[in-house]
Symmetry: C2
Subunit: 299 residues, 2 copies
Amino acid sequence: MGVLVLGTVALDTVKTPKGIRRDIIGGSAAHFSMSARFFTKVSIVACVGEDFPQKNINLLKSKGLDLDSLSVQKGKTFHWQGEYKGDLNTAITLKTELGVLSSFKPNILKKQREIKYVFLANVDPDIQQSLLKNMHSPEIVALDSMNYWIDTKRKSLIRLLKDVDIYLANDKEAISLSQESNLIKAAKSLCRMGPSMVLIKKGEHGSLFYDGKYFFALPAYPAEEVIDPTGAGDTFAGGFMGYLAKCGKVNALTIKNALAYGTVAASFNIEGFGLEAPARLKISDLNNRFSKFKKYASF
Amino acid sequence: MGVLVLGTVALDTVKTPKGIRRDIIGGSAAHFSMSARFFTKVSIVACVGEDFPQKNINLLKSKGLDLDSLSVQKGKTFHWQGEYKGDLNTAITLKTELGVLSSFKPNILKKQREIKYVFLANVDPDIQQSLLKNMHSPEIVALDSMNYWIDTKRKSLIRLLKDVDIYLANDKEAISLSQESNLIKAAKSLCRMGPSMVLIKKGEHGSLFYDGKYFFALPAYPAEEVIDPTGAGDTFAGGFMGYLAKCGKVNALTIKNALAYGTVAASFNIEGFGLEAPARLKISDLNNRFSKFKKYASF
């Protein structure tokens, strides 16, 4: 089927209790692709600056990703600097340098307009909307966002919600956008805002899915050591959307398995800095852990 | 098989965003019994004061509970007054009047000493130990406690852990007693302290079980409205232990189903103040929600 992801390819400087890494490859589209690639062809729509190292491009290429719409633009690559303390659940953003992202206009090839599974990773909702207008007749459009856009571009985001099938949010974002007091109410309320499905990511507490009728929940995979949680949510989304695109249909069974693959992919992501762990991963690693997870979380 | 529960039968005054109730029946043994009764005969070991209303005794009797070791003593019944605000996850204790509990010495009938499944609900660990010494040859002993005892009677509690099979704790207690930084490490560490199984209750985030080798996790049942969470943990324990006692054996399958029954029982408990909701419950309600929960949480 193939999946198209609009998002960021970035340079991250990350500090966690386990160490520090400077200017490593990161960004929502990079993390998403690294897990979605196991299931389907992944086309990245993003931009980087002239400072983006060729070795990073080579890494993405070596994983079979379609980089036709990864544009190199004059200026600096989007750079995020953050730190995790204590329970590692929340990143403290120390610096954000938008660079080429501040003038990013997604431009895709004609053949990419036909891709049926689309993931709009966290960027300005107006950019997400403009990409979506270019798609021909997508079957499943999933949307991620963040508190910054909920606070500063609420109207754009709410308008965009009417055009998507699946809205992904973490627990804080779901509460913030719905203005509800608990996640069950939040999921119902968000569904009424447009998407037919809502997926709430709860970090170490797993995920909650709602399709307008039924709820479904999964715990996280049990993790003893977290090296770096950056990108875990996007890695989760990559496993989820990649699996759905591979199946080519969305029903209770494919959704449940997709959530489980997303969970398992995210559990690998946190075992190293940046893309280190998912870049090493084989499909057999993913399948083995999927089997363990089934025993862990099913009764 | 039968299960014996040592704990409190109390009078609670509870305020939540949904209302206030004064001097209603509560306590760990009362909540535990109200769900365990669906699976097996339940013997309560607790004490109340002379002020304990006969209608409460009648309520417990009408549910088929064995009250032979519920002693009525000179003085006042243990009284807890608490309030829940905001997300209802944490109780704020406003008043605790120990009353007859301050001189409680559990005294059980000879025939009760033969009961094979024992639940030591949250009371002073020295009282828990003294009850346990009276049991003849229990097969499964489960222990609950609270931060107050972890802080003030740590040595007694750690000694007691060596004599129990299952230690139940909420997430904060598990972290506090193990002094670990995350729940997976905490479960492993607690297992090394004596019990062969550890069950961590995470409230709205479900539960985590560890048997020294395998982990197993379940989400909570999706609850839109919480009326009063008091006793949810004990109701969970009642469903869990009651089901195990009914099965008469502890293995991966019985444990998983027991956890699911505990989860479902707890989800009813929070739908009313005190024992209101579980007292109205029928086994068919429990089984119907168990089936829904299986769809909700298994893949």
